[in-house]
């Protein structure tokens, strides 16, 4: 595996279930057992009622592009040689928006509303990142 030159997630006990899910190729989202609300990004409390009683559920991994940008010029570490690349908010069927990269297609064909599905990329021996690709 070529050395990954981009920033990596700083995984902590709070976020480890999410990243372990990615290793298993499952995109996990949290749901509050108290109020039933889904949320992303995952965190230690429910963003609605602040309960700590949260469960991890496997998302169907399907959604649509809420918005996006094709980056042509960047100083972001490790991304200079990747341009043009797509940064997007994807709205999952479960109703939460997820920030990430849309890969596996011509950036010029990405559009708001485009159906996408989650895919995974092992970027190091320890870390797997979620990606989105045209569905």
């Amino acid at each position: 595996m070529a050395e990954y030159a981009k920033p990596l997630p700083d995984i902590t006990p709070e976020s480890r279930p999410f990243w372990e899910g990615c290793r298993r190729r499952e995109f996990l989202i949290q749901r509050c057992r108290g109020c039933g609300e889904f949320q992303h990004y995952p965190r230690g409390v429910c963003a609605r009622c602040w309960s700590s009683d949260l469960e991890w559920l496997k998302s169907a991994g399907r959604g649509r592009v809420y918005t996006f940008t094709v980056t042509h010029r960047t100083q972001a570490r490790g991304f200079k040689d990747e341009t043009p690349y797509v940064l997007a908010y994807v709205e999952l069927e479960e109703g939460v928006q997820v920030l990430g990269n849309v890969v596996g297609g011509d950036p010029a064909r990405v559009a708001v509303g485009m159906p996408v599905r989650v895919t995974f990329e092992d970027v190091t021996s320890d870390v797997t990142l979620p990606r989105f690709e045209p569905a």
Binding site: T67, F68, R73, A76, F79, A88, Y89, G95, V96
Partner: protein, 379 residues
Amino acid sequence: MNALIAGVHEFPERKTVRSALEIQALSARAALDEAGLTPRDVDGYFTVAGSGGTGPLPILDYLNLNPRYIDGTSVGGASFVVHTHHAAAAITQGRCRVALVTYGSTARSSGIPVGTRERIAGDYLDQFEGIYGTSTVGLYAMVAQRHMHEYETTEAQLAQIAVACRRHAGLNPAALYRDPITVKDVLTSPVISTPLHLLDCCVITDGGGAVVLVHPDLARNLPKPGIRILGAAEAVAHTSAGRRDYLVSAAAQTAPRAFGEAGVSHGDVDMAMIYDSFTITVLMTLEDLGFCKKGEGGRFVEDGRLELGGELPINTDGGGLSSNHPGMRGIFLIIEAVRQLRGECGPRQVKNCRLALVHGTGGALGSRHSGATLILGRG
């Protein structure tokens, strides 16, 4: 609120060999001088947290000051608008009588790629945001893209905002870029992050400034007419647990409160200083402040409405897009609005300017940001 703006100063250089602390010291001295006050009079101090995270401590050390009221609120470029609100509130409550708001930055000479570097803050959120090549310009660009999708706003409409600011910069000898530009120039400038081009993005400068606020008891000794703070409001908007409408900014929360406190309406505003990190920032802010309906910003900014002589001249100094943006710009919004209200702006003066609106935006419209509004009037 029972406080007046008595002195302002914008550091004149756009590239400097001075330190961020010296920029603030020189600006503070000049603003106090304009207010007819001395360092011994200062008993309230407001500035952002520097890289050490200790707020006003380094500059208070540098200036050898011991104020009785301090505030290091750091919410991005809007911070100094928030500081001015807080300073006016503190003076109104009798917590201090002479407040200094200062800013200094050497972003340009330090070669900091403010807009295009990865947006990594060193906190828990980075692992869900900053690792994807996420830059400041990218986050604003996504808002522009959604706006274009939802409301058929065009790149040419966004470009009109850059053209207006550049025209005003041509009337400001201190502005970084002063040669006029056209919509075509904006649209043919390199694409940074779609749909935003280079000329949709603010400049990167060194710079800083200072604002002095005083209790009205001190007003009769002021060399310059004091400027009143008629209304002030601040708010935040964020990712909302993954359920955010990114086409509504914090300005939608601040506008009713600031206009309500001031007891004025949009038609009373003679000029506005609108934070212009990117052209989309201005378009969104004008809509959310209520100068036009949501979705109509594209048409609103056409036909020279935002230029001197138009219905709502904005950013008469040339804005962050053409004059000055050393990483954060909020203090310049206040400085220019005060000068307009005093009638000091020469060739770029708005005729009979009696009421000015300032709105600062800090952070990123496409993730989380602060918004702060001030409505300022002649004393």
